[in-house]
Symmetry: C2
Subunit: 358 residues, 2 copies
Amino acid sequence: MHQLSANGYSVEIGSILESSFAQLVEPYRNSKCFIIVDENTQEYCLEYLLTNFDAIANAEVIVLPEGEENKQLQIVGNVWEVLTEYETTRHDLIINLGGGLISDIGGFIASCYKRGMAFINIPTSLLAMVDASIGGKTGVNLGVYKNQIGLFSNPIGLFIDPIFLGTLPTEELLNGYAEMLKHGLISDGELYSEVLEQMKDPQNVSLELLTKVIDVKRKIVLDDPTEKGPRKKLNFGHTFGHAIEGQQMMHNPIKHGYAVGLGMIIESFVSYKRGLLSEDEFNRIELELGQFYQFPAFSDDDINEMIALLVNDKKNRDGKILTCLLEGIGNCTYDHELTSSEALEVFLHFKGKQVNPN
Amino acid sequence: MHQLSANGYSVEIGSILESSFAQLVEPYRNSKCFIIVDENTQEYCLEYLLTNFDAIANAEVIVLPEGEENKQLQIVGNVWEVLTEYETTRHDLIINLGGGLISDIGGFIASCYKRGMAFINIPTSLLAMVDASIGGKTGVNLGVYKNQIGLFSNPIGLFIDPIFLGTLPTEELLNGYAEMLKHGLISDGELYSEVLEQMKDPQNVSLELLTKVIDVKRKIVLDDPTEKGPRKKLNFGHTFGHAIEGQQMMHNPIKHGYAVGLGMIIESFVSYKRGLLSEDEFNRIELELGQFYQFPAFSDDDINEMIALLVNDKKNRDGKILTCLLEGIGNCTYDHELTSSEALEVFLHFKGKQVNPN
């Protein structure tokens, strides 16, 4: 069991059976407990939890529909109505069992219900384990705008058990590896190489590597919980990544990590164009990430939609698009300004590199 | 100008023209600024603000419909969409100009938009000045459940200028006096008497009394910002008050302060019945509050609805109704348990005292 200490709660990496989970839920034995799942985690993960932990064996299960397009206020409102029907108080508990969608939406639901009830995160996807579940960000989309509505709020416990990775398809693992690569690219070139190495055997994620990668995010987040400064580094790949993800959502949804993989290639290209990253390093990143993450086809209209999304990115200030850039592998800086016309140029460059250009 | 220091922001009581408001909004001259108003404050208060403060002269004005029945997620969602259309960032500003509804809903809108943007509260009703705008509670109703959804979040500044009271009808002032009476009843018998005295001349609220009353709440809130303990005292009159208000909302809406006035009479009665409050003190409270706040007619069905609301009160724990009680005028204690059948008895007692019993 690897244990890390976050902002007032602990992160435990290893078998949940050997963790402090049982102890943490014990006080809720006589309160109400809700487990929020999606259809997948309901099928593959829920039973493991219910049969191993007596105190929550009678928990109410709330099943949310899968897919970013369902990460909407309407769903949140429905769950709040369910909690109300069950006469749930602010002293009851919510357990989020699922990927980042579940912890984002479940954390938001818990944090705003009667001004805040406790929640526990048990991420079941690699992406959620290494990224979404740590750092206190909760939220939902507003139309195509990702995580437009939400707040910073921490769980009372975070349990990362690789047992839940066993049933994931490779595509879903690649989704998580994108953020692992990012944690390397922004902080430690050696770690970036280790992640690439692990990707040759993606199913058998090492507990040590997992801990190392989570620790990168944990340290950055502890240092700057509400993203006033250095935490912004974690947004590397996300300025363009969110725009691609948001634009594709309504047409041909792609996974978050996949979009971030593409975003990292684009932002590395901008870094190179500005003379911050060497040509060799950019070529290396484009080649290594390009093995796993390929651009979808996009039209000129798609590009315009992506630029509209960039302009409305949460990270912007004073009407300027802000992005992270690399100053070498392992060194990320933030708050670089970008104009819409630069963004257009960049998209046109990558349009030529699509799998199926149209 | 009276100045009090709250949790990281300052409360200024007196003319806003002499306050630090101009200085506080100056940095937002080149950002976006939104002023949230209702139809009344749009008519009576907005111009005063816009003409006196150059930095916000070009602010966008968002008009919300009046009435508790409009304090709903749907409205919040609409405003979030408007903010998104204006490409608002988390570094822009919202000014809430209105009563408690505006600061509750506007504070919630700001706090969840892109995980939190700054807001300033300028309460324009007596109720909001002495109660709603201080303490960091934000939220909206979920159906008939008052403030079911929300969070604790503080403004960057709170400006209380009695100039805005000038246009208020007496009924609206009585709404605020209920909370002022409450602040006396829970903390200081002398202050309770002073408020009663002031009510003989309700239009000309003394700045000193206003400051004294606000300071009661400010101190309690500073001591216990998230309502783990002593802050619960502020809920005196609110257990039954909220039930009455929620139940009436769909039939014959009554004002919050009015409901709290009735709630205080009921909770004083429970205090007396439990031997915590002397018969003399209860009679005094019933007589003095009864001059201003009279019970609406309610049927047995209405009582059942009110009990259902009591059972779902945010303040409850482990399925028990919790309420504040008085142990003498000026001394309030909290977390007293109450059963549904006790609540029923109490309602039946007061059913006999209605203006128009049915």
